[in-house]
């Protein structure tokens, strides 16, 4: 049973527009969430995170929104750039520690020129 779900395997967005990647979770004990970005043949790299005490965290073009009642988080990228084309993984952690992270299956984002 997947506790963290990324229901869109892929997403195609025009360059300059907004990319919205979604992630749903089932475990209400999760209280820390992270987004990682992965290029082919490379390891994932940390992008942005959010604690459950917040509903929004922003870092440059990247904003993560958390809706605890819906157990849903989303990553917004504005404006989208060609270099954003990658696989994005959502991860969740119980207890505020990344000792063990539960990962989504990933969403492949394709930015069209």
């Amino acid at each position: 049973d997947q506790q963290v779900k990324q229901n869109s395997p892929s997403l195609s967005v025009q360059e300059g527009r907004i990319s919205i990647l979604n992630c749903d979770y089932t475990n209400s004990m999760f209280d820390y969430f992270l987004w990682y970005k992965k290029y082919p043949a490379e390891g994932p790299t940390f992008l942005i995170s959010i604690s459950s005490i917040k509903d929004k965290n922003e870092d440059g073009r990247f904003t993560v929104f958390l809706n605890k009642s819906a157990k849903h988080l989303s990553l917004h990228i504005v404006p989208s750039q060609p270099g954003d084309s990658a696989v994005y993984f959502c991860a969740a952690s119980p207890g505020g520690s990344n000792y063990q992270l539960i990962w989504g299956a990933g969403t492949k984002l394709i930015i069209k020129p």
């Binding site: 043949a41 390891g43 993984f89 991860a91 520690s97 990344n98 000792y99 063990q100 990962w103």
Partner: protein, 110 residues
């Protein structure tokens, strides 16, 4: 910056071979992890270790073992490689503020 180094980027091994994947981190992190990544399945945890000589099974430990004799090094061992172990293997380490991954090893078992 934390660096996590995986010894090989690409490996091709034969069915039945014993395979060693090595991972070294340089920031004295206590926690280290081995994942495999397969299309549509995301990152699946094979084993993790929270201290020297300590290891815990992850979600898919079957067919694998690990070794952590020194804090900086975490090895993944495929006892007898099989074709269904063809995958991207990712090592990671963490302390408190985030997980850092190595570049990955693309293993092909033929």
């Amino acid at each position: 910056d934390v660096k996590v180094t995986q010894s090989s980027r690409y490996l091709v091994k034969r069915t039945g071979e014993k395979v060693f994947l090595e991972c070294v981190q340089d920031m004295d992190h206590e926690n280290m992890f081995w994942y495999r990544q397969d299309p549509g399945l995301g990152l699946r945890l094979i084993y993790f270790s929270y201290d020297v000589k300590m290891k815990e099974k992850g979600d898919i430990p079957e067919g694998y073992s690990v070794s952590r004799e020194k804090k900086e090094r975490f090895s993944l061992i495929l006892e007898s490689a099989s074709t269904n172990q063809t995958s991207m293997y990712l090592c990671a380490s963490s302390f408190a503020t985030g997980v850092t991954f190595g570049s990955g090893t693309r293993l092909t078992v033929v």
